[in-house]
C-alpha cells in the first residue's frame, strides 16, 4: 500500500444520550490512535469502521476501496471486509485450541500465502502455545493470540479496541514490545483505540483526539501533542513526545539522545547505538529562564524560542509552546512567571527539563 493512500471515515450515529459525528481522513499506513476519555465515542467509531455498527448515511473507504457509502447504497457486511479486529477482551473461541483459533480466520481470509501461521506465531511469541486451550492461557497470552488471529486473515486494515485495557501493568509491559514490532513490520494501517496516554505516546504515528463524539484534533502525533489550543481535558496532562536516536554513551552512566534541533542526556540505556527511542516530556516538568543558568542540578538545559502562549483552564497558569529547530516542546508555567520574564512569542529562552520519560 502506497503512502499516499488515505482512509476516509464519515459517520454520524445518534443515540439517546450520545452522538458520534466524525469526518476523518487518516494516513494509509502506520498507527493512528483514536484517543479520548471513556464515552467519547472511540469504540463506536471503530465498530462503525468494521461494519459492526451501521451508521446510516456514512462512508468508509480505504484508498479507492469503498466499504460503505450509503449515498450509493454500498455497505459491505463485516465478514466481507478484509480487516482484522482485536477486541478489548481477547474473545478467543473457547471450544477451539490456539492453533484452531488462529486458523479460523486464516482459512476464511483467502489463505494468503504471504502470512504463515508459524511466522505470525513467532512474531507474537506464541509458538509454544499452539496446542493449548484458550482457558489455560494468561490474559496477556490470550491477547497476543487474538492479535495473531486477526493478522492471519491477511487484513488490509487492523482495528484494535483498547487491546491492553483489560490487562494489568505487567501484562501490558509484556505485550507492548510485540505491538512495537508490529508497528515496525506491518505495512497496513492500524487504528488503535486507547485512553492511556502512555500507550498512545509510545505507539502512535498519528493522533485523533475525540471528545463527546466529535473530533477535537487530528494530525501527526508530535505536532498534535505540542498544540496549545486543545480543550482543557487534554491540556491537564499536556506534554510532547520526542522521537530520538541513541547517539552515544557518556561518562557517569549517561546516554545522549539526539533529535532534530537538540539533544538530551538520560541515564544510560541498554539499547544499541543508533536505536530509535521515544520519550515523553510533560509540560509540568519544563521550566524556563531568560538567561542561561550558571549552576543547576538540572542536566538538560537547552536554548529555544517561544512560539506561542495560551491560557489553561487552571487560573494563573499558562501553556508555552517552544521551538527547538524542528522540534516543539510545551512548558506549563504560572502567569506571574510569564509576566516577570516578559515572555512573548519570538523571544529566545532557556529550557530546563526536569524529567524525561523513556517510552521503552
Amino acid at each position: 500500500m502506497s503512502t499516499d493512500t488515505f482512509l476516509h471515515a464519515r459517520f454520524r450515529i445518534e443515540r439517546r444520550d450520545f452522538c458520534l459525528d466524525v469526518d476523518l481522513t487518516l494516513p494509509g499506513r502506520g498507527i493512528t490512535a483514536l484517543f479520548g476519555h471513556s464515552g467519547s465515542g472511540k469504540t463506536t467509531c471503530l465498530r462503525a469502521m468494521a461494519g459492526l455498527e451501521h451508521a446510516p448515511g456514512g462512508r468508509f473507504a480505504l484508498g479507492d476501496e469503498v466499504w460503505q457509502d450509503d449515498a450509493r447504497g454500498v455497505f459491505l457486511p463485516t465478514h466481507r471486509r478484509p480487516l482484522g479486529y482485536v477486541f478489548q477482551e481477547a474473545s478467543l473461541f473457547p471450544h477451539l485450541s490456539v492453533r484452531r483459533n488462529m486458523e479460523f480466520g486464516q482459512k476464511r481470509g483467502g489463505g494468503s500465502a504471504s502470512v504463515s501461521l508459524a511466522t505470525v506465531a513467532e512474531l507474537l511469541g506464541i509458538a509454544h502455545l499452539l496446542d493449548r486451550r484458550p482457558a489455560s492461557l494468561s490474559g496477556g497470552e490470550r491477547q497476543r493470540v487474538a492479535i495473531a488471529r486477526a493478522l492471519l486473515t491477511a487484513p488490509r486494515l487492523l482495528l484494535m479496541d483498547e487491546p491492553l485495557a483489560a490487562l494489568d501493568l505487567k501484562r501490558k509491559q509484556e505485550i507492548l514490545p510485540y505491538l512495537e514490532r508490529l508497528h515496525d513490520e506491518l505495512s497496513i494501517p492500524v487504528i488503535y483505540v486507547s485512553h492511556a496516554p502512555d500507550e498512545v505516546a509510545r505507539l502512535a504515528d498519528h493522533l485523533v483526539l475525540l471528545d463527546n463524539g466529535r473530533v477535537v484534533a487530528s494530525g501527526p502525533l508530535m505536532e498534535t501533542l505540542a498544540r496549545t489550543d486543545l480543550p482543557p481535558a487534554f491540556t491537564d496532562d499536556a506534554g510532547v513526545v520526542l522521537e530520538t536516536t541513541l547517539a552515544r554513551h557518556e561518562a557517569d552512566h549517561l546516554s545522549r539522545l539526539e533529535f532534530p534541533g537538540g539533544a538530551i542526556l538520560v541515564s544510560q540505556r541498554p539499547e544499541a547505538l543508533g536505536s530509535r527511542l521515544r520519550c515523553r516530556i510533560h509540560a509540568r516538568d519544563v521550566s524556563l529562564t531568560r538567561h542561561r543558568p550558571l549552576s543547576s542540578s538540572i542536566l538538560n538545559i537547552l536554548p529555544a524560542t517561544v512560539a506561542a502562549i495560551a491560557a489553561t483552564d487552571t487560573p494563573g497558569q499558562v501553556l508555552v509552546q517552544l521551538r527547538m529547530g524542528e522540534t516543539a516542546l510545551l512548558a506549563r508555567i504560572t502567569e506571574r512567571s510569564r509576566r516577570e520574564l516578559l515572555l512573548e512569542p519570538g523571544q529566545p529562552v532557556w529550557v530546563q527539563i526536569k524529567a524525561v520519560a523513556l517510552l521503552a
Binding site: T78, H79, G105
Partner: protein
C-alpha cells in the same frame, strides 16, 4: 414381558428417537430466532412454543384430534398434500409429540444461544465468517450443552408422554401403542405384575439414558474449562 410389551418398547424408542431428531431440526432455527430477534413477535412465538407446558395433555390431544381430523384445517391440509389423515398413525404420533415436546427442546437451546451473546459472533464476522458459517462453527459448538439438554429432555419427555398419544394414537398395537399406554392398560386391567415390570423397566432404562447423557455433559463441561 410378552410380545405386546416388546412391541410397545420398540415403538416407544422409535418414536422418541424420531421425535428428538425432528425437534433438533425444527427447534434449532426457532430457538435461534427467539434468542436473537428484537421483533415484537418474539413474545407471541415464545408463548406459543411454551403452550404445551400449560395445557393438560388430553386437552392438547383432543384439539390435535380436532385439527388433524377430516373436518380440521390440519387434516384437510394433510389430505390435500396426499398424506392422508394423521390420527391413529405413527406419523400422527410423531406430529403430536413434536408439538408437545417442543418447549423442552427449544428452551434449553434458546437459553444456550442467549448465553453466548453477541460478541463471539462479532468476532467470527471480523474473521470473515459469514453468518451461516459463524452459526455452525461458533454458535452451535458453544451452545452444545443446550443441545444436549434439549435432546435429553425431548427424548425423555417423549418416552414418558401419555395423554396426547392416547388421544391421537387410538392404541393400535405396534403402530401407536407406546409403553406408557401399555402400562396404563395393564393398570386399568388390574394386571399389576406386568405393569410393574414394564414401568420398572422404563424407569431403569430412562435412568440409564439420562445418567449417561448427564455424565457426558459433565465431561464436556470439564473439557471446556
Amino acid at each position: 414381558m410378552d410380545m405386546a410389551d416388546l412391541g410397545a418398547v420398540w415403538l416407544t424408542l422409535k418414536l422418541a428417537s424420531v421425535v428428538t431428531v425432528l425437534l433438533l431440526l425444527i427447534g434449532t432455527p426457532i430457538a435461534w430466532w427467539l434468542a436473537r430477534t428484537r421483533s415484537r413477535l418474539k413474545g407471541v412465538i415464545g408463548a406459543v412454543v411454551a403452550l404445551p407446558l400449560v395445557l393438560p395433555p388430553t386437552v392438547l390431544g383432543f384439539y390435535l384430534l380436532l385439527v388433524l381430523g377430516p373436518q380440521g384445517w390440519g387434516g384437510q391440509l394433510t389430505e390435500a398434500l396426499g398424506l392422508g389423515l394423521l390420527p391413529f398413525t405413527f406419523p400422527g404420533l410423531v406430529v403430536a409429540s413434536v408439538f408437545y415436546s417442543m418447549p423442552f427442546v427449544v428452551q434449553p437451546i434458546q437459553n444456550a444461544f442467549e448465553a453466548i451473546g453477541e460478541r463471539p459472533l462479532e468476532v467470527a464476522a471480523t474473521l470473515r465468517a459469514s453468518p451461516w458459517s459463524a452459526f455452525w462453527s461458533v454458535a452451535v459448538p458453544l451452545a452444545r450443552p443446550g443441545f444436549l439438554s434439549g435432546a435429553i429432555l425431548g427424548f425423555a419427555h417423549t418416552v414418558g408422554e401419555f395423554g396426547v398419544v392416547l388421544m391421537i394414537g387410538g392404541n393400535i398395537p405396534d403402530k401407536t401403542r407406546v409403553i406408557s399406554v401399555q402400562i396404563y392398560d395393564h393398570v386399568e386391567a388390574l394386571e399389576y405384575a406386568q405393569a410393574h415390570w414394564l414401568a420398572g423397566g422404563m424407569l431403569v432404562f430412562s435412568f440409564v439414558v439420562l445418567l449417561a447423557l448427564y455424565s457426558l455433559k459433565q465431561r464436556g463441561k470439564g473439557e471446556a474449562r
